[in-house]
């Protein structure tokens, strides 16, 4: 509940007459409250429930929470003010983009929770029975065979989700910082919880944590400098100061630079992506799915808001720099993806390239750019989620078989899985009739409309390069002979099936009939108060 308190304290500092404080209107932020409340409840479950009840209880709680939050969200949307409103004394802005992002996050988390909860693909689930067990020991080998799992992953997921939702609604930088930590810290932990290959899992946790903390420091220093510049951390105040302040612009731009670096890190935009491949590879696959889909959504939600609300008026100074960043990110993702031999790492580099595409939409700074980026996030999230879901199915005796050579001839073993994965890869490549194409299209369209045609051409070339590594997997699956002792495809249980199906259906639906989602994404802009 730290967010709540922080918000209250900060709010008290702002008004001139503290006596007039009223109870904050919370109708708009029920979804956040539900998620965070459920997270706390979930912690209590861990503490109080007997071990064998925890898993069912946690799963039920998580699913119920998501459902309740979604219901609240939907009921709120139906009569929400079109221009959006602020809540919690202006620290949270609940406007159309926020609502869209919340909806996206809730839906993606549903998929992620389903993957996390699955206990059929890997008997007992993808998570270690007890995080305290040292890898390589007798206990470790025992826990691999056991069916228990560390159910703390559920509260951690809910906390992270709460942080993400707050992050994209945050209307001032301090709230944003706190939300950033709330979403990050659980993820650091979740990365280290894999049942198998624990060394890799722990390593990824350490790397993610150290780099994440490092990036947070940058972010925070940026906040400080901007505070120094504007005298406030509220986004609208910064925008107002940027329009006419007598302070040195050095503070503004240095602060902005540091802030943006922190955000870009979270969004795994190159060259701040270095954690991405290692962490994606090392983390348990359901967590990778959650991280890849939801963190990206939240981070870009924050980036969009910061750039549009706080720095819209200075865009001519910084836009060129972010052009460069976008190009670097696309090229790094596309080129380094070419030679990857691990499926998860490959998708990681793909996500770096996608981050570059998303950044193009984010720096378009138009309504079209906003709605396009939002739509892209939606499409990308579901596709990635499903892709990692499929990756978790291809296994051999030592767990997931993520090395590409093990995927050779998969289509002969399991045409369905190969077909689904092919479809998802094509979506990632941006082939028409998949959501990936529509997403790219709307983003690039917005970019061209705001005069970034050269950037779009580079992006398209990068897409073509990236298409190669997606194709390589398809070639391996379809046109190569399977290895004699290759991996088998596990028949997934209901949870994983549901998650993959969700992702695939959304990918297809948004590719074939994207109109309704485009309308949602374009239904409103950021509230500036």
């Amino acid at each position: 509940m730290s967010v709540m308190t922080s918000v209250l304290v900060l709010a008290q500092a702002q008004p001139a007459q503290p006596a007039k404080i009223e109870a904050p209107p919370i109708g708009a932020i029920w979804p956040i409250l539900i998620v965070l409340g459920a997270a706390c409840l979930s912690v209590l479950f861990e503490a109080l429930l007997p071990r064998h009840l925890r898993w069912p209880a946690q799963v039920a709680l998580a699913l119920l929470t998501l459902a309740a939050a979604a219901v609240k969200l939907v009921t709120y949307v139906s009569d929400a003010p079109a221009a959006g409103e602020t809540a919690m004394f202006g620290t949270l802005a609940v406007d159309r983009p926020t609502l869209f992002l919340w909806g996206t996050l809730l839906a993606l988390t549903l998929g992620a929770v389903l993957l996390i909860a699955d206990r059929s693909v890997e008997p007992g689930g993808a998570f270690v029975a007890s995080a305290a067990i040292r890898p390589g020991t007798v206990q470790d080998r025992a826990q691999v065979a056991s069916t228990g799992m560390q159910t703390e992953v559920f509260p951690l997921t809910l906390f992270a989700l709460g942080g993400m939702m707050t992050f994209c609604a945050a209307n001032d930088l301090l709230t944003m910082f706190v939300a950033l930590e709330v979403l990050s810290l659980p993820l650091y932990l979740m990365c280290g919880l894999a049942r198998r290959r624990r060394l890799l899992s722990q390593e990824s946790a350490v790397k993610y944590f150290l780099l994440g903390a490092f990036a947070s420091a940058f972010f925070l220093y940026g906040v400080a400098l901007l505070y120094g510049y504007a005298g406030s951390v509220r986004l609208s105040d910064i925008a107002a100061s940027a329009a006419g302040s007598d302070r040195s612009d050095t503070l503004l731009f240095a602060g902005m630079g540091l802030l943006v670096v922190g955000l870009l890190f979270k969004a795994s935009v190159g060259p701040f992506h270095t954690w991405t491949p290692d962490v994606y590879q090392g983390a348990p696959t359901p967590v990778t799915a959650f991280m890849a889909a939801c963190t990206k959504v939240a981070a870009f939600g924050g980036i969009l808001r910061v750039l549009q609300v706080a720095f819209g008026s200075t865009q001519w100074e910084w836009r060129g720099v972010l052009w460069g960043v976008a190009i670097v990110s696309m090229l790094i993702g596309a080129v380094l993806g070419l030679t990857q031999t691990d499926v998860k790492r490959m998708i990681a580099y793909s996500s770096v390239a996608h981050a570059g595409f998303l950044l193009i939409g984010a720096i378009a700074l138009t309504d079209k750019g906003l709605s396009g980026t939002l739509f892209y996030l939606l499409t990308y999230g579901f596709t990635t989620l499903a892709a990692f879901g499929v990756i978790s199915l291809v296994r051999d005796s030592s767990g997931e078989a993520t090395h590409l050579s093990q995927w050779a001839g998969l289509a002969k073993r399991s045409p369905l899985v190969a077909g689904v994965f092919t479809f998802l890869l094509l979506a990632l490549a941006g082939i028409p009739l998949t959501s990936g194409f529509v997403g790219k299209f709307v983003v690039f369209q917005a970019a061209v409309a705001s005069g970034m045609a050269p950037l779009v051409v580079i992006a398209l070339i990068a897409s073509a390069v990236a298409a190669f590594f997606y194709l390589r997997v398809i070639v391996l699956m379809y046109f190569s002979e399977p290895a004699a002792d290759g991996p088998s495809v596990t028949v997934p249980g209901a949870f994983t099936t549901a998650a993959i199906t969700l992702g695939v259906i959304v990918t297809l639906l948004l590719g074939v009939a994207p109109a309704f989602a485009l309308d949602w994404a374009g239904s409103g802009v950021f509230a500036i108060h």
């Binding site: 903390a213 400080a224 120094g228």
Partner: protein, 99 residues
């Protein structure tokens, strides 16, 4: 003595922290360097609060401390688990994931 010196000191501390992250091998020390960076920011915040004549900056510094504390909890847990496994806290030993 103008507040600018505090800002410079803060920048210096931040830089020292950043360089520390780059040059130190021990995970704990690296993590302490990150803490140093956060505290450098705190100094900035307080200084700016002073310059701006509002309390917000100081309040924010408290927030940062709380967050840093939370980070320590998580961070030490992670570092601990890897130390137990590898019997070393050197971050350079964790490089199975690469290329």
């Amino acid at each position: 003595m103008t507040p600018t010196y505090y800002l410079l000191l803060s920048a210096l501390l931040f830089t020292i922290g950043a360089v520390g992250v780059l040059v130190r091998r021990n995970a704990i020390v690296v993590f302490m360097c990150v803490e140093l960076m956060l505290n450098a920011v705190n100094l900035s915040l307080v200084t700016f609060a002073r310059i701006n004549g509002s309390l917000n900056g100081q309040i924010m510094a408290f927030f940062v401390m709380v967050v840093a504390a939370a980070e320590v909890v998580v961070g030490l847990a992670i570092i601990m688990s890897i130390f137990r496994t590898r019997r070393t806290a050197s971050v350079d030993d964790s490089n199975l994931l690469k290329y």
